[in-house]
Amino acid sequence: QIQQEANMQNARILVEKLNEHCFERCVPKPGSSLSKGEETCFTACMEKYMTAWNTVSKQYVARIQKESQQAGLGGSTGL
């Protein structure tokens, strides 16, 4: 159950960060409604951010695994 909560927390941070970045990018001057262009940008940005997060996760985990193998069993990861 704790793990489930950790996953929820993780997803929540991802959505928060994504909102922050994409709002920054796609809505430079907030008007009286979200324009079609802003909405399209937002949907694309959201997808891009999630893909970027996935790419980072894979690359990062692969790197710390490689490093802990080089350091022997139970090696530390340098972070």
Partner: protein
């Protein structure tokens, strides 16, 4: 029971407060003209910009939630 309601309410309050701080931060950056600040009041562009900024952020938030639901199937 009452304690649980209290904890839920408090943590909801805390999340709302955190969102307000974060939105003020974001929207101040977007809406307040750069350079030195002369007057304490929000001027005729800044005030509606701040309000629109909150509303558009919530709209965008809603777009994200809709998309996430689509992804989940």
């Amino acid at each position: 029971q009452e304690l649980q309601t209290f904890v839920v309410n408090e943590s909801q309050r805390a999340r709302i407060q955190a969102s307000i701080h974060s939105l003020t931060d974001t929207c101040f950056r977007k809406c307040i003209s750069p350079g030195a600040i002369k007057k304490g009041a929000l001027d005729r562009n800044e005030e509606p910009c701040m309000r629109n900024c909150v509303e558009r952020f919530m709209d965008a938030n809603f777009v994200v939630l809709k998309e996430l639901e689509k992804l989940r199937g």
